[in-house]
Symmetry: C2
């Protein structure tokens, strides 16, 4: 069996590496590629994706996996080899269930849709996007139909990003969450608004960058196994476990943008940098799901980076970096400003409390579209109605409304948005458990020390890579399935104090 | 046949793209990759090389090429399709002649040899490198033996970089050249040495870089289809005809380093940027040989960039950039300094006149090694003897002697060095023809205008990509086979004036 296992690893390593090389192509395209490189880059990226796909659906791989499965069925669930075979089998089956022709047609369509969206956005033109969205919705349904036996048509789409999580469970979680969030937002909105005008003074980019680098260095982001560059949209990417890069962006007239996107992406990167190095070159060498990944980025961005103890330690050095802008602003005042709650139109600019309402609107509309309860024609109206009812704001145009997020215009409708809110929920469930087991973490954050927290996340979450699904991981790490209790308590306590509710 | 031709192009496009993607991996490794990325990068690069190789030796490609060859034999030699089939057939045969196992073992060996060399250099340790060189020599001979019927054992190695050029022809060319160069160097060395001390003042890197960018912009290097970054060793690389990048390096205590390496690499890049865009994604989309490529880099670096008319135009702006360093230096004085001839130990630092003597020493020693006339044991002694006799200098250590160039320690012994000197010779043969046909070029260079020169090179050299071999290209562009006459006249005239010979 050892020979067959080696054969499997060698086959999987090629699939993995083709994907990692493709990630480099995309990183370069977002960072340094000159405009003239775009056309060939698309062709080269498609070639690598096709070669990887061919190797993934190769029947000889399926056969190898079957033989190995039956010979390793006595191994423990968490055994590395058993996990590798289990996860690779899942990937292989997921890929073989869907006809290659469907995915090829879909990728061709999304490339055109994305192109059209970038133009339509600049012209506030939803009508042009309607036929694209109709087709995307049709592709999304067709994809789901490749996995008969689902409970909800969104399940196979959600499964791509959040293995094992069902639409109906998300609906229940979101309903419970919404019941708590809507009154919380309402209570806050009745209070005196927080003044955050000093965050919008002029903050030179270079100093912002240097401060951010110092912070994520302290978090434990390893620049020997990564680097940071600037891009239009910040992201985290990986070319191996030894090369996990992040990107960020800065606004000179808003300090929050660069600072928190740097911490956010560093959180994603800490997940990948702390995966067990033995998994290198296998499908296990990656964060396990969108929601688990988001739990780590939001942990470092929000639970650490927007906490008072953190700023008690870091604010003096921030003031020293920007003396003119911040000398008359106290740390409490600063802390309130970076946590200002204010219902708004744009998801990515939203505060911690209202953010989830943005996500739920999208998730619910996706389900309605997939179930056939809502037509693309009626989508903008439904969007605006939900913004009015949940957040009390209505977009004056499509760009700040239904056209704002790239997701539906560049990928499936369904399967992605839920991860953002689940990630928030999971971040606190994990953090609370870490605090229970290692109470010193609270104090250490106030001293600019993050080793205990980072190591707890490494040992309980990051190192496992894709060995466990999100639910399995949560059960193992916290002893409980997903629960919103910790998260709600966190929000109520934090914002109850800030807004004196 | 149209269908088969499309099939061929599609197959070749995959091979080409895998190579271009591999070039991006290497570029990233030299520019931005963090240290932790190295291990996986080697594995990924080897994977892409293997996949490309498998596609290149695929018997179905051979069959397709055969069918197409017989159906296109009535097409003109210069017809694009006929050229594509001819060049692809050559590549396919060259790859199939050599057992994959031999190349795999060789690449494994060169990786180890390179690693050992970087260490041995820092310790001035030739003895450690001996067994590596013995093995490299053995691999080089084995490679040559895969092409029985050669005139000289070095021919198959030279053929890799300079298709169709024979060792015996190079020997004859070099002998004739040497006969002229040795007395020229001697005559110069009897004259008062030129003062170039002001080139060694402090020149801040940022200003050097900006000046260089202005110059190569004027040359016609298109930054929309390229970019410049810094690396330890400057190079030019390409990820498509729309993305041809260069790298450079600066010494703050020597102005010549950054300036001329920038022009040199821009010359390579101008070749690639001006290849016929219709060839994109095919094996024709590349410069045709090492020597032809070097003719373009040396043209822009030396024939343009080290000429008096060029500096008559650009020197005032250089003086303005570095007023403290250059205000008391006249343009004639500057011109002489950047063309200072002085026998030295290091090839890459050598001036235009002595440079070729460095190359010839290496070429002759390579032939002696391959022919079995010289042993690796005796190599350092032979190296020093030739430096003494040809240049009148002897290295005080191996680092400045036989260990100085990476070539023998990272690739075959034989097949590469000749291109550097042939490139010098060809650069003037082409330049003289361009001047005959477009006499205004001489005056335009003095006005900072390079369009006529660049377009002549584009039309007569660059655009053809790999359609023609070096010799075919020379015959077509200049009406003559390779000749040293133009080159010798150029050197004698230029240096006769500078040194008043």
């Amino acid at each position: 069996m050892e020979g067959k296992l080696q054969q499997l690893k060698s086959h999987l390593s090629e699939i993995t590496d083709l994907g990692l090389v493709n990630a480099l192509l995309n990183w370069d395209q977002s960072t340094y590629m000159p405009p003239g490189g775009a056309k060939a880059r698309g062709r080269q990226s498609a070639l690598l994706a096709r070669l990887a796909h061919e190797k993934l659906i190769d029947p000889s791989l399926g056969q190898l996996l079957e033989e190995l499965s039956s010979h390793t069925k006595d191994l423990a669930f968490e055994n590395d080899d058993a996990s590798l075979i289990r996860v690779a089998t899942r990937d292989h089956k997921q890929a073989t269930n869907v006809p290659s022709s469907l995915m090829e047609a879909f990728y061709k369509h999304t490339a055109e849709s994305y192109e059209a969206w970038t133009k339509a956005r600049s012209e506030n033109d939803f009508d042009t996007m309607k036929p694209y969205l109709e087709k995307t919705l049709e592709f999304s349904r067709q994809y789901a139909e490749c996995f008969p036996g689902y409970d909800h048509i969104a399940d196979p789409l959600i499964n791509r990003a959040d293995e094992g999580i069902k639409a109906n469970d998300v609906k229940a979680t979101f309903a419970a969450l919404r019941e708590q969030l809507v009154p919380l937002v309402k209570a806050i909105s009745e209070k005196e608004p927080v003044d955050d005008s000093f965050l919008h003074l002029n903050f030179p980019e270079q100093q912002q960058m240097e401060f951010g680098i110092d912070v994520i260095n302290d978090f434990g982001y390893d620049f020997n196994r990564g680097r940071q560059d600037k891009t239009h949209h910040p992201f985290c990417t990986k070319f191996s476990l030894g090369d996990v890069r992040i990107t960020t962006r800065f606004q000179e007239n808003y300090l929050g943008e660069g600072m928190f996107s740097t911490m956010h992406e560093a959180g994603h990167a800490l997940y990948e940098q702390n995966v067990n190095m033995d998994f290198e070159g296998t499908p296990l060498a990656s964060g396990t799901s969108s929601s688990a990944h988001e739990s780590q980025s939001r942990l470092w961005e929000n639970l650490v980076g927007r906490s008072l103890p953190f700023w008690n330690q870091y604010y003096p050095s921030l003031q020293k970096t920007f003396p003119d802008q911040l000398e008359n602003v106290g740390v409490e005042e600063f802390y309130k400003a970076i946590n200002k709650v204010s219902p708004s139109l744009i998801r990515t600019d939203a505060d911690e409390v209202t953010y989830n309402l943005h996500v739920m609107i999208r998730f619910d509309l996706e389900l309605d579209l997939l179930e056939g309860k809502l037509s693309i024609d009626d989508l903008p109206e439904a969007w605006n109605a939900r913004y009015q009812s949940d957040l009390g704001v209505v977009a004056p145009n499509h760009v700040d409304g239904v056209l704002q997020d790239v997701h539906w215009f560049a990928f499936f409708i369904g399967g992605v948005f839920q991860g953002y809110t689940l990630g928030n929920v999971i971040s606190v469930q994990l953090f609370d458990t870490a605090l229970e087991q290692k109470p010193q973490i609270a104090q250490e954050i106030g001293q600019g020390k993050f080793d205990t927290l980072r190591c707890w996340m490494r040992d309980n979450v990051n190192q496992h890579g894709r060995k466990f699904t999100t639910n399995e991981l949560l059960e193992r790490a916290t002893g409980r399935p997903l629960t919103i209790d910790s998260y709600i308590n966190y929000l109520k306590k934090k914002y109850g104090e800030i807004y004196q509710l």
